[in-house]
Structure formats: structure tokens, C-alpha cells
């Protein structure tokens, strides 16, 4: 799906329907429909997100509860502090992704502002700039224990902003399977 969701709630509703449909195995056809091109190509930023991140983090930003950090509805919270904002780009799989600085910037803004909305912080958060991403990705957190580091970052977020409870565990998403 390539359309933007108006509200996080709308997002959640859509995903719940999707989840329910998958869980019930909603009427799969015996043969697949002949391949017809979808109405619109996915925007390149979404293609980049899907191929680099979407397999584990989920096409819609939710995935394996407790095992893969949920992005949808939560990633925006990281914008509350400078440390949180930097953290998202310094993650090794982000910083070292085979994407140009420009595309990586677009992907991160998609993750934070589209998938990860609402965005925390008193004032509207500024999108990442290319210069900022280029600088941050030169210092990937490759030599650090990420679990502990993330916990500290999240503690910092919670101290400054109201953040969803789901941030404190990896995922607040609804399990897709039993």
C-alpha cells in the first residue's frame, strides 16, 4: 500500500484488518489472479525501506512482538531528545545500509514521520537533513552493546516527553499469529 495514513489510528485500524484477514486466511483463491500491475508504483523511499528494513520490521512497521522493535507509532518518539534522534541513524544497519545519504535521509524521515508518527517533542520536530544523516552515519554504533544503549536512550526519552508505553519493550504491536 502506498497511500499515506491520515492518523495513527487509521493506520492501526487498517493494519488490524490486514492482520485479521491474514489470521483467518481470508479466502485465498485456488489460483493466483493473473499478474496485473498495481495501480501505482511504490515510492522509491518505500522500496528502499522495504528492501532494507521491511523484512524484519514489517511492511507496515510492526513485526514479531518482543523480538523486533516496532516502528509504527513508536519511532517518532525518538525525536524527543538529541540522543534519540541521533540513535536512529547511528544504528549499524541504518548507518551502514547501502543507500546514498540522500535516500537514507528520505527513508529515515519516512520511518519517523510516516510509520513512526506521532512524533514526540514540544515543538514540531524537524525532519532529518542530508547533511545531518551524512554526519551521523559516519559514527555507527558498531562497538556498543545496543540493547543497553537503547534502554538508556529510551529512559532519556521518557524523562523528557510523554512516550507510548510500548517503547519500553521492543514491540507493542498485536501479534500477527497466535
Amino acid at each position: 500500500m502506498s497511500h499515506r495514513f491520515a492518523t495513527p489510528m487509521g493506520l492501526a485500524v487498517c493494519v488490524m484488518a490486514l492482520i485479521a484477514a491474514v489470521a483467518r486466511g481470508a479466502t485465498p483463491p485456488a489460483q493466483p489472479a493473473p499478474a496485473t500491475p498495481p495501480a501505482d508504483p511504490l515510492p522509491p523511499v518505500q522500496v528502499a525501506y522495504l528492501t532494507s528494513c521491511g523484512g524484519c520490521h514489517g511492511i507496515e512497521g510492526t513485526s514479531a512482538p518482543g523480538q523486533v522493535p516496532t516502528l509504527r507509532g513508536l519511532a517518532g518518539s525518538f525525536m524527543c531528545t538529541r540522543q534519540g534522534r541521533d540513535f536512529l541513524v547511528r544504528l549499524p544497519d541504518v548507518a551502514l545500509a547501502p543507500l546514498s545519504d540522500r535516500m537514507l535521509t528520505q527513508v529515515m524521515n519516512f520511518v519517523v514521520f510516516d510509520l513512526g508518527a506521532p512524533v514526540a517533542g514540544g515543538r514540531p520536530a524537524r525532519p532529518y537533513t542530508v547533511a545531518e544523516v551524512a554526519r551521523l552515519r559516519r559514527e555507527p554504533l558498531t562497538d556498543t552493546g545496543l540493547t543497553g544503549y537503547r534502554n538508556r536512550v529510551v529512559a532519556g526519552l521518557a524523562a523528557r516527553c510523554e512516550v507510548p508505553a510500548g517503547l519500553h519493550v521492543y514491540a507493542a504491536g498485536v501479534p500477527i499469529t497466535r
Binding site: M1, S2, V22, G25, P28, P29, A30, Q31, P32, P34, A35, P37, P38, D40, P41, L42, P44, Q46, V47, A48, L50, T51, S52, C53, G54, G55, C56, G58, I59, T62, S63, A64, P65, Q67, V68, D93, P98, L99, S100, R102, M103, P175, I176, T177, R178
Partner: protein, 177 residues
């Protein structure tokens, strides 16, 4: 997986102008692209790929679009395992007795019918004894295990309550380009 210059606006524009325009209002789209497309230098990796832009891969050259129980069905360029289409399911549904995994790897395959690149989620069905039918291995742009985003050998049942591999789907996520 192939990322056919998707992060190169200039390159896409050139290809559209070269004659393969979509059915949609081509002029309107071109206009939007011209406004939005800044010029920027390609990284060496992407430069190499841009020079090699065929709308085909070795897999797609041999692929077909009719029979999804055959290994050379166009969506299976990166599948590894048993085809759910042979196991009581379909390319996008798990057979009864198994459950889809929320994690998978997402690759892209070229549909030889329209020579366009589509994102395919190789989502496994987990929980039931192995189907053991229609075993296929597509390794088009498959990456090793240490780059799991594009690897077939991780058992992609993470997020279910089981790791019994039953079969693999090839779910169409969308048109990549």
C-alpha cells in the same frame, strides 16, 4: 535483491523518456519528476549498476507467468523451499495447519510480461511438518547470512510460536518501479 536505480531520480527519468511510459498520465508524472529531481552524484556501487541496466536478470530470462507450481514462475527468483502453491495454499496464503510468519525477507523480481520490477515478500508458513513438495531454490541477488535482510537460509518463522518450516509464499508487495 535488485534495486534498479530506484534511488536515482535522474536515471528513472531517463528510462521513462526512452519510451517505456506508464499508462498513467505520463506528462503529469514527468512534470512532477522534473520539479522534484535534484541532480546528485551516484555512489560507486550504484554507478556500476546504472551502467548495467537491463530490464532482466538471468532468472527473468527463463521465467514464465502462468504456472505458479513451477520453480521458474517469475515471482520465485529468490524463493528457497517448498512452494505453498503445491502444499494446499497459494502464492499468498498458507495451507491449513500452518501460519504465516511476520518476518520474512523482501526481494524483487522482474515480471517478464511487462519487464517491471516487483517487490516480493518471501513469507514462510510455519508450524506444520515440512510439505516436501515442489522444492525450489532461487538465488537471484540473495545475500549471505550475515546480511539477513536478503537471505533465504534463516528460518523465517521469527515472530510465530514455532520454527517448523512448512512452505514458502511469494507475496506481491508492490511495484518497485
Amino acid at each position: 535483491m535488485k534495486r534498479l536505480g530506484v534511488d536515482n531520480w535522474g536515471e528513472r527519468l531517463t528510462r521513462r523518456l526512452a519510451g517505456r511510459l506508464s499508462r498513467r498520465s505520463a506528462l503529469a508524472r514527468l512534470g512532477a519528476l522534473l520539479v522534484a529531481a535534484p541532480a546528485f552524484p551516484l555512489l560507486p556501487v550504484q554507478r556500476a549498476r546504472a551502467a548495467d541496466t537491463n530490464k532482466e536478470t538471468d532468472f527473468s530470462r527463463e521465467a514464465q507467468t502462468r504456472d505458479d507450481t513451477a520453480c521458474n514462475y517469475w515471482r520465485y527468483c529468490g524463493i528457497d523451499g517448498n512452494l505453498c502453491s503445491c502444499c494446499g495454499g497459494s502464492v499468498h496464503s498458507c495451507p491449513p495447519g500452518s501460519q504465516p510468519s511476520p518476518t520474512s525477507w523482501i526481494g524483487s523480481c522482474i515480471n517478464p510480461a511487462d519487464e517491471r520490477s516487483y517487490l516480493i515478500a518471501y513469507r514462510d508458513c510455519c508450524g506444520s511438518s515440512i510439505c516436501n513438495k515442489c522444492s525450489c531454490i532461487g538465488t537471484d541477488h540473495e545475500m549471505p547470512m550475515y546480511r539477513p535482510q536478503a537471505n533465504n537460509h534463516v528460518i523465517w518463522c521469527i515472530g510465530t510460536n514455532t520454527f517448523e518450516y512448512h512452505c514458502s509464499m511469494a507475496v506481491l508487495v508492490g511495484l518497485a518501479e
